[in-house]
């Protein structure tokens, strides 16, 4: 029988992040008082991070299927078929709380965790991306956090050997006490060589692989499921420490072992470590699991069963092997200098049994640990609708040229070169489009295919109108992939929100999810993996609702693509899509006028699809090589970015008739792209667009060394670049 050394008090239950009714539910489930180890296990399984208890019922509304989807949510990562017998495996995950407490290690292990999710399924990682949000630049902590997070992402990815090809960096006071660090990894595998977590067979050996287990990260997942307060700094010991060298060895050893045919099931030890991985493998396979913790390779002496089950030491894997293949597997792991130990077996009891030093420390029903986790339909309220701001009601405090110069050098819109130059974005020799464009492109093996990759969301839109904001996040990812010539295939979502226990933030979550679902359905762009990060708030101040979308698209012929740079002088600049001069929630309204208000631009998904399909066809037929989507900062900022990327100026001559110039230039209407083409080709394109009912208008011509907006003083491209490139390095050097 199981012996109980520690009395389970209400205080102990609270320390484990369980609510009294959740604890009662657990006691009823097992029919007795749990041991301390069992309490630790259930707290790890039933926290928000692992159980999705507040989000689960809403996640069900997302579309997850398409003919090319091989594996949707529920595995380590999503899998899509990209043809030629190849699969793309990808996922995005947050490491927000650890990165705030210890930015270098928090970000590094975020990258490590997501890479592991991808290669656990048998894929070799070929690209990494990220989505980062920091507090306002003036906040004393911000530079230190930026510096640490960027170094941590680079430190891990560079050493591991994956190119970090894209991402997003932004600042807002709402992230002052709770930054966002979301990391995405993309890998390649053969469609017939994908590995899953589901264990099969009774009495098969369960092996432990990788680094040794230490006391780091104990209760990391529980920390990620609580809001922050001023004492959060004291949680530093719950942040794990990453070792990219060990991960690189683990990657090579795992892929080699998978090739040998010895692997039945595999699960990485991420959040909640050994507990979560073992339970998942057993529960998915309808099998019990018995572990003997005396066999677990430990880094420290005297570790208890409780500590081993909850450790979040990094770079570890759990596998079910084919019986009789242990020796072969061990030889591969020893070649790579990694630990290998048979620590248990599968059983037919459907129990999760933990033994340590001759005693049973836990004996729990394995299916119920996952299936019977509490599910909440939390109360929520709809966010109040914001008024629509009429274009002509907004006064222009600056000339359009001055406003543009201000925006290109602003913290959110400035060049992020200082960041991405710290990431090795060229390793593997397949980076066709590096950071700085709409979407990155990496070639698949030796071609001709490529993958278009992006991470997007506009949090201020999501707060002003969660439904439209959710739609816009998906539409923007779809548009960015389209703008380089990719066919958008699927997304991974990283849903960062404040406490689900407040009806207002729960309402933001529900609204955004509905918007995401609607856009995914309309654009045939299903969700195949994701991560929910709730409780992103400090002392009651929630973050902006930030459902980051990681999009993956397919480029059939990687030599036929488009980029944002103006290539030649004398090309016609054409705007595709309708312009109403929408200034509500625009960057112009916020950063030039100092007003954070209004309804965000609505997203018409029919127009979005029609306009995007038109652009993609223009790129794929070779008619267009220069494309940029219009997003933050509208037409004006897009033009400036195109000029800077190509070192070619432009003169804009089209003047709007029914709206002020600043609304025309800086409005953020959706579903729009700018293209630049030979004058000869322009007439055909305008005609084709007209035939399809797509608004298309020539704005002006490329040429010269300045950008000239209608009736405005010329701004030299050099001046734009100085403003664009200088803010971040100067800020990080303490000068801005």
């Amino acid at each position: 029988m199981i012996r109980n050394d520690v009395a389970i008090t209400p205080e102990l239950v609270k320390e484990h992040g369980l609510k009294p009714d959740e604890y009662d539910r657990f006691v009823k489930l097992i029919g007795r008082e749990p041991t301390l180890t069992e309490l630790g296990i259930v707290s790890a399984m039933w926290n928000e991070h692992c159980s999705y208890k507040s989000s689960r019922i809403h996640l069900r509304g997302l579309p997850t299927k398409a003919p090319w989807v091989i594996q949707g949510p529920g595995e380590n990562a999503g899998v899509i078929d990209i043809g030629d017998g190849l699969a793309c495996i990808f996922k995005m995950e947050s490491h927000n709380h650890p990165s705030f407490i210890e930015p270098y290690q928090g970000a590094a292990t975020g990258v490590g965790g997501i890479l592991r999710d991808v290669f656990t399924m048998g894929a070799r990682p070929i690209a990494a991306l990220n989505f980062l949000r920091f507090g306002e630049p003036d906040h004393p902590k911000t530079p230190h956090l930026v510096s640490g997070v960027v170094a941590g992402i680079g430190g891990y990815g560079n050493s591991f050997g994956v190119p970090t090809v894209g991402g997003s960096v932004g600042f807002d006071k709402r992230y002052n006490g709770n930054i966002l660090v979301n990391a995405m990894a993309v890998g390649l595998a053969r469609t017939d060589e994908i590995f899953y977590a589901k264990a099969t067979g009774i009495g098969n050996p369960i092996v432990y692989l990788g680094s040794k287990t230490g006391r780091d990260g104990i209760h990391g997942a529980t920390m990620a499921s609580a809001e922050f307060d001023d004492a959060s700094e004291e949680k530093r010991p719950t942040v794990q420490v990453g070792d990219p060298f060990a991960e690189k060895l683990l990657l090579e050893a795992c892929l080699e072992l998978m090739k040998s045919g010895a692997v039945i099931a595999i699960q990485d030890m991420g959040a909640a470590g050994l507990t979560s991985s073992a339970v998942e493998m057993g529960a998915k396979g309808n099998l019990g699991v018995e572990l003997d913790l005396d066999k677990v390779p430990c880094r420290e002496e005297g570790m208890t069963a409780y500590e081993m089950m909850l450790s979040e030491s990094q770079e570890r894997m759990l596998m079910v092997l084919k019986p009789g293949m242990e020796k072969e597997a061990e030889a591969i792991f020893h070649k790579w200098g990694l630990d290998f130990a048979v620590i248990g077996k599968t059983t037919d009891t459907l129990r999760f049994v933990i033994k340590h030093q001759g005693e049973v420390k836990a004996d729990l029903p394995i299916k119920e640990l996952g299936d019977e986790a509490p599910v909440y339909d939390r109360p929520w309220v709809e966010s109040p609708k914001q008024p629509v701001i009429a274009p002509d009601s907004v006064e222009a405090p600056l000339s359009e040229a001055e406003a543009l110069l201000k925006l290109v050098g602003s913290p959110d819109q400035c060049s992020k070169r200082w960041v991405w130059e710290q990431y090795d974005h060229l390793i593997l020799g397949n980076t066709v489009q590096a950071p700085g464009g709409d979407a990155a492109i990496v070639r698949v093996e030796d071609g001709p295919k490529g993958l278009a990759l992006t991470t997007d969301v506009t949090p201020r839109y999501c707060e002003a109108d969660p439904f439209e904001g959710g739609k816009q996040a998906v539409a923007e990812a779809w548009r960015n992939i389209t703008a380089v010539g990719g066919l958008p295939l699927a997304i991974t979502d990283n849903l960062n929100f404040a406490s689900p226990e407040r009806p207002e933030s729960m309402g933001q979550f529900v609204g955004c999810l509905r918007g995401i679902g609607e856009a995914c359905r309309a654009l045939n762009f299903p969700v195949v993996s994701g991560n929910v990060s709730l409780y992103n708030e400090t002392n009651g101040q929630g973050i902006l609702p930030t459902p980051a979308i990681g999009g993956v698209g397919l480029v059939d012929d990687v030599t036929v693509n488009a980029s944002i740079a103006f290539r030649n002088e004398g090309e016609a600049i054409i705007l595709i899509g309708a312009t109403s001069g929408w200034l509500g929630q625009s960057i112009y309204l916020r950063d030039v006028c100092g007003r954070e208000e209004g309804a965000p631009p609505p997203v018409d998904l029919v127009q979005e699809k029609r306009n995007g399909d038109f652009i993609r066809q223009l790129i794929r037929s070779g008619q267009v090589k220069t494309v940029h989507d219009c997003s933050d900062g509208g037409i004006a900022l897009a033009l400036a970015e195109m000029a800077m990327a190509g070192n070619v100026g432009a003169e804009i001559t089209a003047v709007p008739e029914n709206m002020p110039l600043h609304a025309f230039l800086f409005g953020e209407d959706q579903a729009r792209y700018l293209i630049a083409v030979d004058e000869d080709a322009a007439a055909d394109i305008l005609y084709e667009a007209g035939a399809l009912g797509i608004p298309a208008v020539t704005l002006g011509m490329t040429g010269g060394d300045s950008l000239i907006l209608p009736g405005q003083q010329a701004i030299s491209v050099k001046q734009l670049k100085n403003a664009h490139e200088s803010w971040l390095p100067e800020y990080m050097a303490g000068k801005a």
């Binding site: 990219p244 060298f245 060895l249 710290q422 060229l426 390793i427 593997l428 020799g429």
Partner: protein
């Protein structure tokens, strides 16, 4: 031409350099660090980029003492060609095959960007496909590429024409701005006394196709292959 690309635990650009060698026409194979001999008939040994042993000690220090390095030293002593790129350059310095050391970059950060190099001489097995003084467009990706040596060594390198490449601008001018990691004399790569060992921080192996940025890196691999007349 037969090349052996040594793989240490933590190497990560071995695939990139194998691709470049094969494109140039070399028979390239990977060799595990625990081997004590090079494959028979090896003409060129390549130490690829990466983070051998995690670079947790001084970069390249552990790999410089790996089993296979005795064979690499013997190959070099016989006059055989050895190319070390990035971490490979660091390993060559740590193993005694090249003088000096690579310190932390001047800004103390990892940097990855396109970079022009001035080809100092084109009469070696590594550079004959380039013109002397040519500015080639390749890339760097390193945290510790700041070449440092004592005054005497530096004087000897310069005096004997052993500097292979210097960081420069697009026009071949060796400027302070172009030397972002802070290397002494803007040194990006050096030769051994007999010109048969080359260590360089930048990555020519990543610039071998127009699709991924350009082809200026090809010349180095083509030079090496053309140094070996095809076996009759």
């Amino acid at each position: 031409m037969k090349s052996a690309v040594i793989v240490f635990p933590g190497s990560n650009r071995e695939g990139d350099v194998v691709r470049a060698l094969k494109q140039a026409g070399s028979d390239a194979q990977k060799v595990w660090h625990a081997e004590t001999e090079l494959p028979k008939g090896t003409d060129l040994v390549v130490l690829p980029g990466g983070f051998s042993y995690g670079d947790y000690l001084r970069c390249g220090a552990i790999a410089g003492r790996a089993a296979v390095m005795d064979a690499v030293r013997a190959h070099a002593a016989r006059g055989g060609l050895v190319l070390g790129i990035c971490n490979g350059f660091q390993i060559l310095c740590e193993s005694g095959l090249l003088p000096g050391i690579l310190m932390r970059n001047a800004n103390l950060k990892f940097i990855c960007h396109r970079q022009f190099l001035k080809v100092e001489r084109n009469d070696t097995a590594f550079t004959r496909a380039y013109a002397q003084g040519q500015a080639i467009d390749v890339c760097v990706a390193h945290g510790e590429g700041n070449y440092t040596a004592d005054a005497e060594t530096l004087k000897r390198l310069e005096g004997e024409g052993l500097v292979a490449f210097r960081y420069c601008d697009a026009y071949g001018h060796v400027t302070a701005d172009a030397n972002r990691n802070g290397s002494m004399n803007s040194i990006a790569g050096i030769y051994s006394d007999k010109l048969n060992v080359l260590g360089m921080m930048p990555h020519p192996e990543n610039l071998i196709e127009d699709l991924v940025g350009g082809t200026d890196g090809r010349g180095l691999f083509e030079s090496l292959v053309s140094s070996f007349p095809r076996a009759a």
